[in-house]
Symmetry: C2
Subunit: 224 residues, 2 copies
């Protein structure tokens, strides 16, 4: 059940594959090459190694899919990454736009004990500073914990939990609209293709661009 220690490169690949599977539905050689900033033949070579380690299945010219143990490894790394991002922001006050690259390096070297202490200090959080869910130790990803406002169904009420990439200018703008964390909003209508959406905030209404709506994370009130 215990897996042997593995190189940083291998962890980077399985993580990238996992994220691509979630975001794009599939992980191709090209997409991996772009995501990891390496040449395509490097990806092909690594895929061969990952396959030998039983971390991925591969169909020639068709891309890769994680095996259960590959997914377990990937989610472990992602958990490290997101916990670290949150910890660096909350506990050490690092600027929000700098924690990603820091976590990118730290995620590969922290022990399970350190991971546990960090999770403890943070109160076992379910989402990172960007609103992305933090997988549990068991590898469960609570996608519904926080939802981008852009994914909310019209007519549904929700509570704002977090604003991704909290640039001061953006925060000020959202503040003017009354869109703070813990504020309850109701989605009135939504344009197709990620266009603008109408919101009810308290007793007033406002319209929000799709790009902004995608960066505001909410908890639907039913699930409270």
């Amino acid at each position: 059940m215990e897996s042997r220690p593995v190189s940083q490169a291998v962890e980077d690949y399985v993580k990238a594959i996992c994220l691509l599977e979630q975001q794009e539905g599939k992980a191709t050689t090209k997409a991996l090459a772009v995501a990891l900033d390496v040449a395509a033949p490097s990806v092909t070579a690594m895929i061969k190694r990952l396959h030998a380690m039983r971390l991925v299945r591969h169909t020639r010219y068709r891309g890769v899919a994680l095996t259960p143990s590959g997914r377990r490894m990937a989610l472990e790394v992602i958990r490290h990454h997101r916990l670290l991002e949150l910890y660096l922001v909350e506990a050490l006050g690092l600027p929000w736009d700098q924690v990603h690259e820091e976590a990118e390096r730290l995620e590969h070297v922290i022990s399970e004990e350190l991971e546990e202490r960090i999770a403890e200090r943070l109160g076992h959080p379910v989402a990172d500073p960007h609103g992305d869910p933090i997988p549990t130790k068991g590898g469960e990803v609570d996608q519904s914990a926080y939802l981008p406002l852009s994914e909310l169904n019209p007519g549904t009420a929700a509570v704002i939990k977090r604003v991704a990439d909290q640039a001061p200018a953006k925060l000020r703008y959202l503040g003017d609209l009354g869109l703070f964390p813990e504020v309850r909003v109701t989605l009135l209508e939504k344009a197709p293709f990620g266009g603008p959406m109408s919101l009810e905030v308290g007793e007033t209404r406002c319209t929000l661009g799709g790009d902004l709506a995608r960066q505001i994370y909410v908890l639907p009130v039913e699930s409270l």
Copy 2:
């Protein structure tokens, strides 16, 4: 003045060379092989690379010495290591006997910004949990900041600052003798070759084995 990013292995070697220079006076191929747990020819090969990077000077069959830039790099890594050890103990409550290996990995990947935040949170400490001095950002090592009790001159008074490797059993034993941090002790006499030493603690006296005395760090009162 800025040096290019360097591999973890290179950092491990310059760190080991620096520590060996301090502890043994010189860094030989064999000593490095033992310290880093690699074969002797691996050390020879790496020395060649370190020399090409102008991090060490090398005289065949005579061992290596750090250049100024090599020492700068080594002290930077050691600073990271000792700050991290202290942070993991103080801020995250990791067990004292586990922080070394954790810091061993983290020391290579933290940014200067993170280093700075950690130092800040700790109040810019001068020694790690083992009593070893933390080099400053400028590369100065305040060897006198904390002194092992075993190195204190007879007749001198000092204040206990820290006990290395704080195993519960040892702490209880020292507690029974009244040897707590901030307690003032006076060294009465010391046996040669690291043998037992007689101490005055408040109004009582006690005798301490040389091995224990080497793990109690003090600040001579003159320098307060």
